[in-house]
């Protein structure tokens, strides 16, 4: 099959404003996000592209771009080594960043929604999960859309161009030294990141492993916990300088602070 024949087949068969283009040895089709499932079925059943090679997601600042590469193998022909079409069939899907978003406000979890093609190509399963994990595009109709490489609770989607590591990243691996004893981690209030047994007097520990990293993701204001500094040996927490300046400077004799240090809830 030649490239021209394939483009014509796409144009006639799929129709409705689709303009296939020829790029090197590929045939590139621009597909609207809502029609990608329809196009996947069309490519498999009508065009004979029975093998989904790869799904790629690119963050183009204003929009996301999804690229689907298909190959035509057709296993019926044992003697044929060359596929029916030598190149790739490539569907480009431009996804607006606010497309059917799960969150109404722009933010780190601002995730557009695109139909999943797993019901046509089961091989898309893990690739779509990976894109959700690292790029933050949701796939509607996916059987199990969860984080796959990172863990639940990881902030944001690291392959996005505006993603930044949190400044408040505590050297969390210190937590590992506490072992797996029950309840020690869960009992600690989020403010009391470090509670020393009273013996330590030293330099203030700035929370954050990378000093030069931006303080917070550009798209949202910092939480108090991200700007917090802790001074050891003073019996309390020292709020750092957020954008609105130092908010509270608890002294040694601050009663509320003492209560918090003692862990009493009744005030």
């Amino acid at each position: 099959m030649t490239q021209e024949a394939l483009s014509l087949q796409v144009k006639v068969g799929f129709g409705k404003g689709v303009e296939p283009a020829i790029d090197k040895d590929n045939v590139v089709v621009q597909v609207a996000p809502g029609r990608i499932l329809e196009f996947a079925r069309f490519a498999r059943d009508q065009l004979g592209f029975d093998f989904l090679d790869a799904i790629t997601a690119v963050d183009n600042i204003e929009t996301f771009e999804l690229l689907y590469h298909w190959v035509s193998i057709r296993p019926s022909s044992q003697k044929e080594i060359k596929p029916a079409y030598p190149g790739y069939l490539l569907a480009r899907v431009i996804v607006a960043k606010n497309l059917g978003s799960a969150q109404p406000e722009p933010g780190p979890d601002y995730e557009p929604v695109v139909p999943s093609i797993t019901q046509v190509f089961p091989g898309a399963n893990q690739q779509e999960r990976e894109i959700f994990d690292l790029m933050g595009i949701r796939f509607k109709g996916h059987p199990r859309l969860e984080r796959i490489l990172l863990w639940e609770g990881f902030p944001g989607h690291p392959l996005r161009k505006d993603w930044r590591p949190l400044n408040a990243e505590i050297p969390w691996h210190l937590a590992g030294m506490r072992g797996f004893g029950g309840g020690t981690m869960a009992d600690i209030a989020p403010e009391a990141h470090i509670a020393v047994d009273g013996s330590g007097v030293g330099e203030p520990i700035v929370l954050g492993t990378t000093a030069e990293a931006p303080r917070y993701p550009a798209s949202r204001p910092p939480k108090p916990s991200e700007t917090m500094r802790i001074k050891l040996g003073q019996g309390g927490l020292v709020e750092g300088e957020g954008p609105e300046g130092p908010t509270r400077q608890p002294g040694v004799g601050d009663p509320s602070q003492e209560q918090r240090a003692l862990g009493s809830d009744s005030a």
């Binding site: 090679d53 193998i73 044929e80």
Partner: protein
Amino acid sequence: MTQTRNPSRLHPLEIEKGRVDLSLYATEDRKDLRSDLVKINLGPHHPSTHGVLHFFVTLDGETVVDLRVIFGYLHRSMEKLFEGRTYVGNVALTDRMDYTAAMLNNWGWCLCCEKLAGLEVNERSQCLRTVAGELSRLSSHLIGTGVFGQDVGILVTSVMWGFNWREEVLTVLDDLTGARMMYNFMRPGGVRADTDAPQGWSDKVRKVMDGLPRHIEDFHRLMTTNEIFHERTKGIGILTKEDALAYSVTGPTLRGSGVKYDVRRAHPYGIYPELDFDIPVGELGDCTDRYLVRIAEMEQSRRIILQALDRLDATEPGNLGKAPKVFKPPAGDAYAEVEGAKGAIGFYLKSDGGPEPYRAKIRSASFINLQALPMMVRGWKLADLIAIFGSIDINMGEVDR
């Protein structure tokens, strides 16, 4: 809660002694007699999971009802790191993907860079790439076959044999590149500038290749004709053609199911179109077929290496072409694939004209092959799960990247 027992799991002596009234079970609603399901955890540290892979298995007796695969324990943020380093510097990162066949990852990256910038590679560099890449494939298949033998019960003999022969392959790669595993050898537009084959290298490779058929014969004696191996793998974990294609499986796993798809033939690159080699395929798609395809691919790799060595000797030493030191492709994007040891390794690169890629995506073979596993093991025994998983031959560095 009353426990019901499946009569098929009764001890024969119990039946013989009349301790159990079989008429209790010999009813038509026997299908309702079921044991409770058992959930077990396997990994992320387990000797049979080939690295840091994690299984949640739901069992009915000994039969696998459901399998959930959890990974990411080796996710090293490679795609993000690509964006901060130059194209040439990233070659070293690609080494660490499929670390048993690092040369083929280099090749995939460099091929994509060349496609992006329209670079040509000269004859000697191509021959060196072919020889080194196929040696890498040999090394990976020797490990994969040896470890598969361990999974089905040969204990460590096959592993030791595979690693021992791999040392011979590594010796010649060490002579060429100075490293045993992480070669950092290829460059967009050729190979590393200071690296040409040392004198007498091709004869040394030929000598190693002469010993290979004997090693393959040893594998057949140890494994293929062994009755226990046969019983553990024949007819186990069948992956049909249709399923293999639907789940985007590539590499020896796909060819074991009888689909004659090899990127070296389907999307030719390098000097492969001019070389004479076959693509072995299986028939049934069971564990034996996948194992035999790997063995047969080693023989084909040997054929390729011998042909490429002849062409290498015909070229002028030292003429490695011009691999640009500062590689700055024009804005645009490209996608290229090579046939890796585990399957098709693809790279997508998008350039904005700068010295670093704007976006680099890896299509890794192991990651995609792995997703067929839950479907393949359903209904088999727990011991078969290990055999089937071993026959897919994945590499955690490539799964998690």
